[in-house]
Symmetry: C2
Subunit: 217 residues, 2 copies
């Protein structure tokens, strides 16, 4: 699916904000007609991943300080009750998946695969939502995490583009122990760490090569 390809590129911060996504370019890149491309762009714009400017084309969304705060506030609102819920009814299958995911994160970190680490780091939060079995919450988290990836790319100090190392494991532990309070507290701390790693004042200049960025997906 073409939408997923662009999603993934954004999640791995290979597609910088403000990059122009021209229809013609996407058509030849993905080898599909303009209709498919336009449909994908509309979908992406409805989720705030790209901005669709009338008669001017599609640009990777470039959140300002205000939008960034909104996204983090939304996550701060949703994720604590979410892990609380998970600590209550933890499905064995879900816990298993989360545990395996953390293993993937570790292995990618040790292999120094930067983009992989960044993407997996975000995906953990999505899988957290999926572990609840609630498809509505999962969709919302998917959108929030993707936009967070854009924000981190824009405002992040280059060092910590991913989540702090072992916090995911600690959260999972708390859930596994059926300890809602601890899980909630850990998530709040975790989100604060991510947000504090940002510098909301300087916005990195957007670079736009776009050439074969989408190829290796």
């Amino acid at each position: 699916m073409i939408v997923e390809r662009i999603y993934k590129a954004v999640m791995e911060q290979r597609l910088a904000p403000n990059t122009k996504l021209s229809e013609a370019r996407l058509c030849e890149t993905f080898g599909v007609g303009r209709m498919r491309v336009r449909r994908a762009l509309l979908l992406l714009s409805s989720q705030g991943i790209i901005d669709l400017q009338s008669n001017r084309g599609a640009y990777v969304s470039c959140p300002d300080k205000s939008e960034a705060n909104d996204v983090f506030e939304a996550r701060m609102l949703i994720e604590p009750p979410l892990v609380r819920l998970l600590a209550g009814r933890a499905g064995d299958a879900g816990l298993q998946i989360l545990s395996e995911h953390i293993a993937l994160e570790d292995s990618a970190r040790q292999g120094n695969e930067r983009t992989e680490v960044i993407r997996l780091s975000g995906e953990f939060h999505v899988k957290l939502a999926q572990a609840s079995g609630n498809v509505v919450i999962s969709r919302v988290m998917h959108e929030l995490v993707t936009r967070t990836s854009l924000i981190v790319g824009l405002f992040g100090s280059s060092g910590n583009a991913s989540c702090p190392d072992d916090e995911h494991a600690k959260i999972l532990d708390a859930i596994h122990d059926h300890d809602p309070e601890r899980a909630e507290s850990l998530v709040i701390t975790h989100l604060n760490h991510i947000q504090n790693g940002l510098n909301m004042d300087v916005r990195k200049p957007p670079l736009d090569d776009l050439a074969s960025i989408l190829g290796a997906s």
Copy 2:
């Protein structure tokens, strides 16, 4: 905007679940080309308002018990922290709007304008989110409320299609008094009232006249 028209029809429960929305019909109804219609349908489907079946057309979404539970669970997850947030930082402008909205609800109730009452009843929750000033949360709530409208139409005992009478006012009072605990508690009660007014076992048969439903919007 064509999307808003369909939104409104769903919110007022004039468009029953499972109603087929054929492209040709919508084209002549709104007097636009097929492109606009298809774009609107794609948008609506991405928000779970309609189901887009390949080569078969668009049908107003018909949530099953599981999806209904997911929507309510999501609202139960999001709205309590939301009003808590609002009780903390209540913008005067926002409170004013909410207050006026409740007045509208009352007036519609006294005028026995059924569809109006139903729509306003749902919109209150959206405006609650808007009062936070957070556009991300607002978008999420908008989607959740619309889908709730579908669910109530499907599973609701005919009496209480709208929210219980004065609970909205009580919630607003608590927010106005900067009392997070009370506001949260009232919202939880309120959501429970809505959910308890449903009968998850019998699903009303979907009727599909569709004739001039969309006209009077």
